[in-house]
């Protein structure tokens, strides 16, 4: 890799930011253009194809009956997996998920799980014996930065449009998956002391670290993750949280609400 070019590009980005600009013309707290199409895979119980700028992620949800965990005999199970398939970027290699794939899956998983978005009690079929296993599979198709937000948005959009395949397993009529909140993941980087939301690939590479904040309809936060080899001041951290919660509200109301018909009461 050309490290000289890297440096030049980085300086350019920093100088832009100091003049109040981003490389693609967005405001500091703007997301790239965001499109979400749901029910794109008919073999999946739920699916969402997310385009976030040039980043593309396909999330599929599959359900099948299985055993509950011993310590939660009356609750459904969420299993989240992310594949950074080599089709999506020259940096990805074939093989089992590396630390980046594992982190992506676990952050998406925590956002769904900790928000309580999915009513797991309603996914119990027979206490201690049989519950619905919800597989959330993140399939990255084109990596142009900020995979976490694209994947997390895909996950909640897919879940909120998932039907439980009761009929296939002789368990009555198909039902809507009981989703009762729309957690939204918002990731930012700190460049030149500014909080830049939804970094693209260039910004992601130039910044030394990122912070992801996943927040809910009521403004509470249910998951956070700092990534990258740099550090953040307490002030920037707190500021990022505030901006992220605002942005999440915006996306929830302007994008997700158009995709998701209705939610369960909490």
């Amino acid at each position: 890799m050309s490290e000289v070019l890297d440096e030049i590009r980085k300086d350019y980005l920093f100088n832009l930011v100091r003049r109040g600009k981003r490389i693609d013309g967005r405001g500091f707290h703007d997301f790239r253009e965001l499109h979400i199409r749901t029910n794109v895979i008919s073999k999946a119980e739920g699916s969402a194809w997310v385009e976030l700028g040039l980043t593309e992620v396909l999330v599929g949800v599959k359900l099948q009956p299985g055993e509950p965990f011993p310590d939660t005999p009356d609750k459904g199970v969420i299993i989240t997996n992310a594949e950074l398939v080599p089709l999506a970027s020259p940096m990805f290699e074939p093989g089992p998920p590396d630390e980046n794939g594992v982190e992506l899956a676990r952050v998406v998983d925590r956002g769904i799980r900790e928000s309580g978005a999915l009513n797991l009690e309603k996914l119990c079929i027979e206490e201690g014996e049989k519950v619905w296993i919800v597989f959330i599979d993140v399939h990255v198709l084109n990596h142009e930065g900020n995979l976490i937000d694209a994947s997390a948005l895909g996950a909640i959009a897919a879940l909120a449009t998932t039907r439980i395949p009761c009929e296939r397993y002789g368990l009555g009529n198909d039902e809507k998956l009981p989703v009762r909140d729309l957690p939204v993941s918002v990731t930012a980087v700190d460049i030149a002391g500014e909080v830049l939301i939804d970094p693209n690939l260039y910004e992601e590479s130039a910044a030394s670290c990122r912070l992801t904040v996943i927040s809910n309809t009521d403004g509470t936060i249910s998951a956070m993750q700092k990534g990258g080899t740099g550090g953040l001041s307490p002030e920037i951290t707190k500021k990022t949280v505030k901006v992220a919660v605002e942005c999440a509200k915006d996306i929830r109301e302007n994008i997700l609400s158009g995709v998701v018909a209705s939610l369960e009461p909490y």
Partner: protein
């Protein structure tokens, strides 16, 4: 012979197709921006996307071939692409498909132009409904062209089969499952060369000959669609470049 009737009384198949009819096909070129070339391909309900990276550096070094580029092919099914959720990672089926698909494409790739390099072809099956390996080869062939890899011709692929005693083109899921024979074929139309041929089931020699002829005719039709998609893309981009 299966108990399920796969050919209706009017001679049409369960989805209304005639025996020699293909399912609807949709081809989009250059859909993924990171890849050097890419193609989205739909065949009925099958949805596949192919990306090509390369020629690029090949690691590890001792795997490099001083005479030509190494062509690598990875066929991978998304976990949600099938009825029962599939565990991620390669299984024996996908290892075999990756091998025969690569061998279906290698005859047209002029790998000698890029000694020591790698040409990587990745096919992701997003939704599966019988015919994913041929759909993947079709997509990969277009993606190779889109990536500007020098080729002797396009590779086109389709499966033929025998259902209710009849030779039919482009098996759908039920025909694959309950039919008597399944035979995926890939061809280079320009050179009239077969580059993939697999079969399982039970047919006579005469039936095989007819099936092969039908497969070749099917590949020709797909070839025309591949060409058309590429021409459209190129004229589009030329228009874009020239325009404004």
């Amino acid at each position: 012979m299966s108990e399920i009737k796969l050919i209706r009384e009017d001679g049409r198949r369960l989805d209304g197709r005639l025996p020699e009819e293909l399912r609807p096909i949709k081809i989009e070129v250059g859909v993924l921006k990171r890849a050097d070339g890419s193609c989205y391909f739909e065949l009925g309900r099958n949805k596949v996307v192919a990306a090509v990276y390369g020629p690029r550096e090949l690691h590890p070094r001792h795997a490099q071939d001083a005479r030509r580029a190494a062509v690598r092919f990875r066929y991978n099914m998304a976990p949600f692409s099938v009825e029962e959720r599939r565990r991620p990672g390669p299984d024996r089926r996908s290892v075999e498909i990756s091998k025969v698909s690569r061998e279906a494409l290698e005859p047209v790739i002029i790998a000698e132009y890029y000694p020591r390099a790698a040409i990587d072809i990745f096919v992701e099956i997003l939704e599966s409904d019988a015919g994913t390996r041929t759909a993947g080869i079709n997509a990969a062939s277009v993606a190779l062209a889109d990536a500007g890899i020098p080729m002797k011709g396009l590779v086109s692929a389709v499966a033929v089969g025998k259902v209710d005693g009849q030779i039919v083109l482009d098996l759908m899921s039920e025909e694959d499952q309950y039919g008597e024979m399944d035979m995926p074929v890939a061809m280079v139309t320009r050179t009239n060369t077969i580059t993939l041929l697999q079969m399982d089931g039970r047919v006579t020699m005469e039936e095989f000959d007819r099936a092969l002829d039908l497969a070749i005719a099917g590949c020709r039709r797909i070839y025309e669609l591949q060409r058309k998609a590429l021409i459209e893309k190129y004229s589009e981009s030329r228009a874009e470049e020239g325009g404004v």
